[in-house]
């Protein structure tokens, strides 16, 4: 009797899950499989019929210096964005958790950047960095920190860091929310006991807060890294990969290759490489996190 009820509920669960599974298959799995298929095709728009290309697209992608540069840029972009967002997010979360007056309101204000669509964020930073009327130039110039207005996006180094900062700004609210939630979940008794034992603020941070924040930190780093690896809008609007190929990241490279230049096969191959890189980095990070006991 009980086992037949269980079977019925099991069946019902499957039926209820079917639409979600179908949607995931149609909109996530199928496109991935199709892109993988395209990466083995000689498909270039305007070049007539396509055919099987074997590993040619991958060979072309790996031999192309632009792809190598895009890989390096992507890794640098992702690493620095995640580092910035996590450190700033952690700082703000600690501040919010320190019984600061008005913390509740501050949380609402901090969440705002997260609510801004990516494209609006990119446009906003385009204005901030503008070489003739940008707010950044205005502020720095009025404080006497720069002698003249600067074109922040005109050299590869400053452009890359300007883009990273703009992107990290968008990630910070996510980091704050997750880390603040993690901080509020740490029992206050731990801190009280540590104080009785004579531990100072720094010791408490490194021996209580940080170990107990390992799991939320893991979530923040993991999600921010995946998002940063596929960042597109900010690069597209601010620099379009330039100057030179100074801010060319893989996601923009794929877009340009496939949709602007019509080399769909090579674009798909680079997209697959990006997916593999993200997968490997995520796997390595999860493994490292498990070894430290953080992902429990």
């Amino acid at each position: 009797m009980a086992s037949s009820a269980l079977r019925r509920s099991d069946f019902l669960l499957r039926v209820l899950n079917t639409p979600a599974i179908l949607l995931i298959l149609a909109f996530s799995i199928a496109p991935i499989v199709y892109v993988f298929y395209l990466s083995f095709q000689d498909l270039r728009i305007g070049m007539g019929a396509s055919g099987f290309a074997g590993l040619d697209n991958y060979r072309f992608a790996l031999e192309d210096a632009s792809v190598t540069r895009a890989i390096t840029n992507t890794l640098y972009f992702a690493a620095l964005s995640v580092l910035l967002a996590t450190l700033i997010g952690l700082g703000i979360a600690l501040l919010l958790n320190s019984d600061m007056p008005g913390a509740g309101w501050l949380v609402s204000a901090i969440v705002l950047p997260w609510a801004i669509p990516e494209i609006v964020n990119a446009l906003m930073w385009q204005w901030i960095y503008n070489p003739t009327y940008g707010a950044l130039n205005g502020i720095l110039y009025s404080f006497g920190l720069i002698p003249d207005y600067r074109a922040w996006l005109s050299s590869p180094v400053s452009a890359m860091h300007a883009v990273i900062f703009a992107y990290a700004w968008k990630l910070v609210p996510f980091a704050v929310i997750i880390l603040y939630a993690g901080l509020t979940a740490i029992p206050t008794e731990y801190y009280e006991a540590a104080e009785i034992d004579g531990a100072g603020d720094v010791a408490q941070f490194f021996h209580i807060t940080l170990p107990l924040l390992a799991a939320p930190l893991g979530v923040v780093v993991l999600f921010c890294m995946v998002w940063s690896m596929r960042a597109f809008d900010i690069v597209y609007l601010l620099t379009r990969g330039g100057p030179g190929d100074g801010t060319m990241v893989l996601s923009y490279f794929v877009f340009a290759k496939a949709f602007e230049f019509g080399d769909v096969g090579a674009g798909a191959a680079v997209a697959c490489l990006l997916a593999v890189m993200t997968f490997v980095l995520t796997g390595l990070y999860m493994r490292a996190l498990r070894n430290t006991g953080g992902a429990q």
Partner: protein
């Protein structure tokens, strides 16, 4: 009366003017309604390509000449359409060449333009200079004189950032003015190409060109010139017009901005934007009607839209004799241009494919890469010789891939 609706794709230049032209067309063709879709020009090529790949229906469209090699496989050849041969015969060589691919005509001219030096006459005279430069050495000397007189911190501004086009088209104009090509038949950078690159880089090294300008696209560099802080801007001819440098309300150089030919041989390159038809359209007859109205003649046989573009956007024509129209001539003269001189320049301007493999299917990709290298050279991060070597290497790599 049954009405056919056609979908027409355009980029976002003077949208109200385009809407006005569409209304004029609909008034002349009551059986056709136009569904005009506007796309930002920076996203135009990618969006159209995506629409085409996804079999999204559209009938007529704007076409960039630099993607014609990529798009010709799905654009409708126009040679067989009624009146096309006559129109083709009347086109300027620049327009005809830019819109022909593998011997077939794929567009009617939206506008043509050539590259010349837009210069600030007031600044030039204040420095005691009699005429705009006739050689590159003279250009350098004049810029140094203006700089040392304190008239401009950096006298030269250039459109270098690639948005639609950028620094590489300026490079093509410079190479043409030296009487050469940028890439030879083996895709090596020519001596004229290297000389142009070296000269251009030297203007940045000597502080004559504004380093911030490396990130300015054609529109932005034109706006920078309008501040009155620069002596020259080598750019497309329409940027000297009443809507740009000679805009009395927005430009500080209005009335003193003139267009001079390129130095040395005065040869230059030009380009043509065009109207085309999607070969998958089910309304080709109606699509031909609108592109003929916009890109050639109305039912009266007059170049109604091309003439209005001169007056409303300083966009020059693709057919011989348009400059003779009194309204067109008056419009050009209103901002200091000489209609006959402009017509001669348009007639003599070389199509881009006479200087670079402009219609090769790999050209657009190479141009974006080359523009990045150019930015590196101008900023002093890469030597001109190394930059030229990178151009050659990439051109050969892409040509091999697209063989």
């Amino acid at each position: 009366m049954a009405q056919t609706t056609i979908k027409f794709m355009a980029w976002n230049f003077q949208v109200e003017t385009v809407q006005e032209f569409v209304k004029q067309f609909e008034a002349e063709n009551p059986g056709i309604k136009v569904d005009l879709e506007i796309i930002p020009s920076a996203q135009y090529a990618a969006k159209i390509q995506l629409m085409r790949n996804a079999n999204t229906s559209f009938d007529g469209l704007y076409v960039f000449d630099h993607v014609l090699g990529q798009w010709a496989s799905w654009l409708e050849p126009l040679d067989g359409y009624e009146g096309a041969a006559e129109l083709k015969a009347k086109m300027l060589p620049l327009a005809r060449q830019s819109m022909t691919f593998n011997g077939k005509l794929y567009g009617l001219p939206y506008f043509t333009s050539y590259f010349g030096i837009v210069y600030n006459d007031k600044m030039m005279k204040a420095a005691g200079i009699a005429a705009p430069p006739k050689t590159y050495a003279e250009w350098t000397e004049q810029a140094k004189k203006i700089k040392s007189a304190g008239l401009a911190q950096h006298p030269l501004i250039w459109p270098v950032k690639h948005t639609g086009w950028g620094g590489m088209w300026i490079m093509n104009a410079m190479v043409a003015s030296r009487g050469g090509k940028l890439l030879d038949a083996s895709l090596n950078v020519t001596p004229e190409g290297l000389a142009s690159l070296k000269w251009w880089e030297s203007t940045y090294r000597d502080g004559l060109s504004d380093p911030n300008g490396i990130e300015l696209d054609p529109n932005e560099s034109a706006r920078a010139f309008m501040t009155g802080n620069y002596y020259t801007n080598l750019t497309a001819s329409f940027f000297a017009g009443a809507q740009w440098a000679n805009d009395k309300e927005k430009s500080k150089v209005a009335g003193s901005a003139f267009l001079a030919p390129t130095p040395e041989t005065q040869a230059t390159v030009g380009f043509a934007r065009m109207y085309g038809i999607n070969s998958a359209s089910t309304n080709k007859k109606e699509a031909w009607a609108i592109i003929k109205f916009l890109g050639a003649t109305a039912k009266s046989g007059d170049y109604v839209t091309p003439k209005q573009w001169v007056q409303k956007g300083a966009l020059t024509w693709g057919y011989e004799g348009v400059e003779k129209d009194p309204a067109v001539a008056a419009s050009l003269k209103s901002w200091g241009a000489d209609p006959e001189n402009m017509a001669a320049n348009l007639k003599n301007a070389l199509a881009m494919n006479e200087v670079v493999p402009f219609q090769a299917p790999w050209y657009a990709e190479w141009e974006l890469f080359a523009n990045g290298v150019l930015q590196n050279v101008l900023a002093g991060r890469v030597k001109p010789e190394d930059g030229a070597a990178q151009w050659t290497e990439k051109a050969k790599q892409l040509a091999a891939r697209y063989k």
